[in-house]
């Protein structure tokens, strides 16, 4: 499509919603003036105008699909015949599924831990150094890049050439310079998962960093100064004051990254597509959605497994929300 027709499409799409709100409210005001002032009626109509579009979208794209996916997980590949727990027993006996569960657990342990740890360390370092904000900016930058883009960046880093050739991937060039054999990093089972996780850590450390930086500023200076006057070392201050103070923040960052990691898809899909034992749930699910015309039953089971992973976090969020509302 030409740039012109694309622009028209975009404009029409956005204007549709602007006009919806404008016209519906205008009509309501118009009839309010004409008819008797029935405030209760007017208010409820306006509530509906304000809420309806968002609610319909929420219902069609989130609420209904969640329950439909759960229902589909008990049905066959076209979603017509009830098959009971068949899809679940298939999953438990499927080697790819087991591999995915193990890998996802690995991702869940390694990525949030290291991202949070690096973010915390860098936030602390950068806070006390005059060029800290530039450093933060640079480390935060990967947050803006797509997972696929990051995939290309790192695939280039991991590039492999035969032992005799010049290496063009930085990692292998370093390995060769140190006297090791070059490796095709992404094809070494078990270890290749770590190389894929490195990409996610590279991206998510920036998130942890900026949130920690903001939180660090909320630590009262007096507390830190008092500790310094008493002769506490910087390391001691870090462990005994900063970490306890940031407990809540650490937990929040941990959950954000955990949710992201549970859904990790792009990196695996772009880099290995689950080969060499790097399969994860989200990629396997995508695979089953389209493999051989699609199997909505198996796809749904896999999606449901991801949901089960986030349910503790979901419950915790709701609990905290309730606590906040009470205050």
């Amino acid at each position: 499509m030409s740039i012109f027709s694309l622009a028209i499409t975009v404009l029409v799409g956005v204007l549709f919603f602007v006009l919806f709100f404008h016209l519906s409210n205008f009509l309501l005001d118009y009839f309010r003036v004409k008819a008797s002032k029935n405030f209760a009626f007017e208010n409820s109509v306006r509530v509906i105008i304000f809420i309806a579009p968002a609610f319909i979208v929420l219902f069609v794209f989130i609420i209904y699909p969640v329950f439909e996916t759960i229902r589909l997980s008990f049905y066959d590949k076209v979603g017509e015949n009830f098959v009971g727990l068949f899809n679940y027993t298939w999953a438990i006996n499927d080697p790819d599924f087991r591999r995915s569960i193990i890998n996802n657990l690995g991702w869940l342990i390694v990525v949030p831990t290291l991202s949070t740890f690096f973010g915390l360390v860098i936030a602390n370092l950068a806070d006390r150094i005059w060029w800290g904000s530039i450093a933060k900016s640079i480390i935060f930058m990967p947050m803006a890049i797509s997972f696929v883009g990051a995939g290309v960046i790192w695939k280039f880093m991991y590039d492999y050439r035969g032992p005799g050739d010049q290496q063009i991937g930085l990692l292998n060039a370093i390995a060769v310079a140190l006297g090791f054999e070059p490796q095709a990093w992404l094809t070494i089972p078990i270890w290749n998962n770590l190389f894929l996780m490195a990409i996610m850590i590279w991206i998510q450390t920036g998130l942890a960093l900026v949130i920690f930086s903001a939180a660090l500023r909320s630590i009262p200076i007096e507390t830190l100064d008092a500790a310094r006057i008493d002769g506490a070392s910087e390391l001691k201050i870090f462990w005994s004051i900063i970490i306890p103070y940031l407990e809540q923040t650490i937990l929040v960052i941990w959950t954000i990254i955990t949710i992201l990691v549970l859904k990790v898809f792009d990196i695996i899909y772009a880099m290995t597509n689950g080969q060499w034992q790097t399969e994860v749930l989200a990629n396997l699910m995508y695979d089953w959605m389209f493999r051989g015309g699609g199997d909505s039953g198996r796809g749904s089971v896999l999606a449901f497994c991801i949901l089960i992973g986030v349910i503790p976090i979901l419950a915790w969020n709701l609990y905290r929300h309730k606590q906040e509302q009470k205050v």
Binding site: M1, A7, T9, V10, G13, V14, F17, F21, L28, D29, N43, R46, V47, I49, F50, I51, F55, V57, L58, F61, I62, P65, L72, I122, I129, G132, I139, M141, A144, I145, V148, G149, G151, K155, F156, M157, D165, Q167, I168, L170, T205, L207, I211, A214, V252, I256, I259, F265, A270, L281, A282, M285, Y286, M289, S296, V310, N317, L318, H321, Q325
Partner: protein, 379 residues
């Protein structure tokens, strides 16, 4: 100026190490996208800043270019197609001995013709008899190649590989997929904050629960709805409006939540005063709330825009892979599969896909960070 203590030096070095580790991958990609594709395939990007030594093969011109001077026939030309600033220091005429001769020396072929190669690639090929072959001979050269960068790769990917179109497509997806949720969620968040209605708390709890629902839970049913809808009205199931609404749906919870978080910090006296003065909720929203919310709109716009721009999964499921619909990330993934060894295309393509996010990042970093922090510390 602080004293240079061991701790401060150590922390500076440690931070520097982190910075280097984080910037080097992206920097390498950027440098590689500016290198000549032949050089890129055989040498690491870190060698591109210094003069490197390369071994290359060229072919001389054939009989058509010969001229007769006196008793001899000559072919005079330059080995390089264009001046790349390379300096030849040795050359050879057989693959067994590729650096047999010093530059400026004369080499003797088996057919008793002679060739002299000069530093800048000029050569003089001399023969007693007329040259008969159409094809020239192979010349092996060892040359020093100075650092050189080019925009050729960008021309190639944008025009020939179809990344230019994909770039436009991504805009056509991302702009409405950011503006539509912003519009409908701002009304929604206003209603959740300032309007009283039955079921408000339940709705709010639903939003908070939806925040963490994985996208994968929604894909299959939504795709089924789209397919049925497409079949019913005889339109394609994969279309721009379709993906806008999908992104709106998947971004709705977070957009609403962030806006709600912001709106509840506005002083309620102000809103109530406006209501007492007889302003409708619509007037209050447009005239008071929207102007006050511009900074938070900016943050949310950036977050959602980057999310949509960088998304791959939704684009794969709800758009065709046809050139008129394919988005950048999907295109890049396609190139990874089909042109996996053509690093000049991959590095350049990746960098093209990163231009808009990086531009936003560097120009609007403040809003970006504010949005992220607001979404996390409170959520």
């Amino acid at each position: 100026m602080k004293k240079l203590t061991f701790t401060s030096v150590f922390s500076q070095l440690l931070l520097l190490l982190f910075v280097i580790a984080w910037i080097v991958p992206t920097f390498g990609l950027f440098i590689s996208s500016l290198r000549d594709k032949d050089v890129l395939a055989i040498s690491g990007w870190w060698t591109s800043f210094t003069t490197t030594e390369v071994n290359e093969i060229y072919r001389t011109k054939g009989k058509e270019d010969q001229i007769k001077e006196g008793d001899y026939y000559f072919i005079k030309s330059n080995l390089f197609d264009e001046n790349q600033g390379k300096e030849i220091y040795r050359f050879g005429i057989t693959s067994k001995n590729i650096d047999e001769y010093e530059v400026g020396e004369t080499a003797l072929f088996k057919d008793e013709t002679e060739i002299t190669v000069f530093e800048n690639g000029d050569y003089v090929w001399k023969s007693r008899e007329e040259f008969k072959k159409k094809k020239g001979k192979r010349i092996f050269v060892s040359a020093k190649s100075p650092p050189s960068f080019t925009f050729d790769n960008y021309k190639e990917v944008l025009l020939k590989e179809g990344l230019g179109q994909a770039f436009l497509n991504t805009f056509a997806v991302a702009l409405p997929a950011t503006l539509i949720p912003l519009i409908i969620c701002s009304y929604f968040a206003y209603a959740l904050t300032w309007m009283k209605f039955y079921g408000r708390d339940l709705l709010l709890a639903t939003i908070i629960a939806s925040l963490v629902v994985p996208l994968q839970m929604c894909l299959i049913p939504v795709l089924t709805i789209y397919n049925d809808f497409g079949a019913l009205f005889g339109v394609s199931a994969k279309s721009y409006p379709g993906i806008w609404m999908a992104h709106t749906g998947f971004g709705l919870a977070s957009t609403t939540f962030l806006l709600w978080n912001f709106l509840k910090t506005l002083p309620s006296e102000m809103i109530e005063a406006a209501r007492v003065d007889g302003a409708t909720h619509y007037d209050t929203f447009i005239k008071i709330v929207v102007p006050l919310s511009i900074p938070s709109f900016a943050s949310i716009f950036i977050l959602q825009f980057l999310w949509v721009w960088n998304d791959l999964l939704v684009g794969l499921v709800f758009l065709d892979k046809h050139p008129s619909e394919i988005i950048l990330t999907a295109k890049l993934k396609e190139l990874l599969g089909s042109r996996g060894e053509n690093w000049e295309i991959l590095t350049t393509g990746a960098f093209v896909s990163m231009t808009v996010p990086l531009f936003i990042f560097f120009s609007l970093q403040r809003y970006f960070i504010r949005g992220l922090v607001a979404g996390s510390v409170k959520g």
